[in-house]
């Protein structure tokens, strides 16, 4: 069964997120066969949000939800059941910055084209 892990991180105090490499521990976990895909996102200042307002498209600068935490990345995994998914999520969480949350969502249907 496929799950999406949505990682929300607190805003960076200082430094450039893009210049900071993925930690070794995290890279090791992302390389495991249970991980079927992942994407690390630029900070939310880079976001543009489009909204369907009765058929008209509204464009705004910034993320859809303005909060202290932002969607920092998503990881797609394969697990037997929720416990399996939670275990992977917990291991990933240990390799993240303090204050990070990971939301685990079962995937309803998917199509991965591959890079």
């Amino acid at each position: 069964m496929q799950y999406a892990l949505l990682a929300y991180s607190p805003a960076e105090e200082e430094g450039d997120r893009a210049a900071r490499p993925i930690s070794e521990g995290l890279a090791g976990l992302l390389d495991r066969p249970g991980v079927t895909g992942w994407a690390r996102l630029h900070a939310d200042e880079s976001a543009t949000t489009l909204r369907n307002a009765d058929g008209r498209t509204l464009l705004t600068d910034g993320p859809f939800i303005d909060s202290k935490e932002y969607l920092a990345g998503l990881i797609l995994i394969e697990a037997d059941d929720l416990d399996g998914a939670l275990l992977i999520a917990e291991q990933l969480l240990q390799e993240t910055r303090p204050g990070t949350s990971i939301e685990v969502r079962p995937i309803l249907s998917e199509h991965f084209r591959g890079a």
Partner: protein, 395 residues
């Protein structure tokens, strides 16, 4: 046994087996309900089958297979319309002998229902529905929420179990202590809810669940301790009220206590101690046992509360320790512990404080504390008891 009683005994067993077979609680529940309805019609006429569990499981399973077939036909038609030739998995066809031994999968089911990915209130409701066999109506009544709210809560939980694939399994050893403690928390919460109201006998329900757990995990000391704790508390039920009025522990007629239940609780407590438990339920059961003994060993009670507070960090436990300390060193010593606790929202905090203030001779303060306690009282009996105390402390 009356048919109702047979059904209550069978519901959890039958449902658990069906969930294991079908992999879906909602489908299993619908099928079980149908099978029980058929049994209610046929058994009084044709007699109870030799293997009631087997009969109910087989009947329910057949219903579920019919249901799945209907769904699949519908599904296929929908898909044909969409010009999609993909077909779903075939329905289960394995023949089933209704005399076969049915494995007891209630443990798997309770670990599913008490999974930490579900909200605590959903865990409680789901456990009562699936293992206790209570109707949505009864659960809504017990927790004083509208029927629709409870119905939605149950449906949402069942959908999450299905959609997120919460496992139907006893957790592996490394997870078992945490997950078992979650299960015991749910059962004890049901028990405590049963003490206040009496709308639905939740205390009896919790003891029933506790017995089932103790039967399924006879070597888990905390499981035995929880059952002991509930039995020892519940044994005083008859003495706790006289003509609808609350009777303080020391004024209770001990002849009204349930001797058999006390003996059973003590035997379970011994079994738990022998297995080397020092968990929170064991300590609470030991305290409940000490409360039943005369004269009361307040020093030991205070020491056990101290250990328990260390384990749980609970201010309610500290409050109870204050009561014991007041018995040893006087009411002022108890009050100085209470002063440090943040329990303003807790109804028994104010009645406890009021009682110690009264005994310390601080009548005006006691009166004010009784007022606050009465404002938070949840039952008529509590309100009447506190009204009497208020009259006694009127300056």
């Amino acid at each position: 046994m009356a048919l109702d009683a047979v059904f209550r005994e069978q519901w959890g067993r039958v449902l658990a087996t069906l969930v294991g077979m079908l992999g879906d609680i909602e489908l299993a529940e619908d099928a079980a309900a149908e099978a029980f309805a058929i049994a209610a019609e046929r058994w009084p006429r044709d007699g109870e089958p030799a293997n009631p569990t087997g009969w109910l499981v087989t009947t329910a399973r057949n219903r579920a297979v019919d249901q799945l077939r209907r769904r699949q036909v519908l599904d296929r038609k929908t898909k044909l319309l969409a010009r999609d030739i993909e077909t779903g998995p075939p329905p289960p066809e394995a023949p089933m002998d209704e005399n076969a031994t049915i494995p007891d999968e209630r443990l798997e089911l309770i670990f599913t229902c008490c999974h930490p990915a579900l909200a605590l209130e959903a865990q409680v409701a789901l456990t009562l529905r699936t293992l206790g066999g209570l109707s949505t109506d009864e659960i809504a009544l017990a927790f004083l929420v509208p029927f629709d709210t409870m119905s939605k809560r149950l449906t949402r939980a069942k959908h999450k179990i299905h959609d997120a694939r919460i496992p139907f399994a006893v957790p592996p050893d490394h997870q078992l202590p945490d997950r078992l403690s979650a299960v015991l928390t749910v059962v004890y919460l049901i028990f405590n809810q049963g003490w206040g109201g009496g709308r639905v006998d939740l205390a009896a329900e919790a003891i029933h669940l506790g017995r089932a757990l103790a039967g399924l995990m006879p070597d888990e000391p905390e499981v035995l301790a929880l059952l002991a704790l509930m039995l020892l508390h519940d044994a005083r039920k008859q003495g706790r009220l006289r003509d609808g009025e609350i009777v303080p522990l020391d004024e209770q007629d001990r002849a009204l206590w349930d001797r058999r239940q006390i003996d059973e609780g003590r035997a379970l407590l011994q079994r738990a101690i022998v297995r080397g438990s020092n968990g929170p339920h064991l300590i609470q059961a030991a305290i409940a046992d000490l409360y039943l003994q005369e004269p009361r060993d307040w020093r030991q009670i205070a020491a056990l509360y101290e250990t328990l507070a260390g384990l749980t960090g609970s201010p309610v436990v500290e409050m109870n320790r204050a009561i014991a300390v007041a018995e040893i060193h006087g009411p002022e010593a108890g009050l100085s512990i209470l002063d440090g606790l943040d329990l303003d929202h807790y109804r028994y905090f104010h009645s406890t404080r009021a009682d110690l203030l009264r005994r310390a001779g601080r009548t005006a303060e006691a009166h004010a504390a009784y007022e606050r306690a009465r404002a938070q009282a949840q039952t008529e009996a509590e309100r009447r008891f506190l009204t009497t105390r208020l009259a006694e402390t009127t300056p």
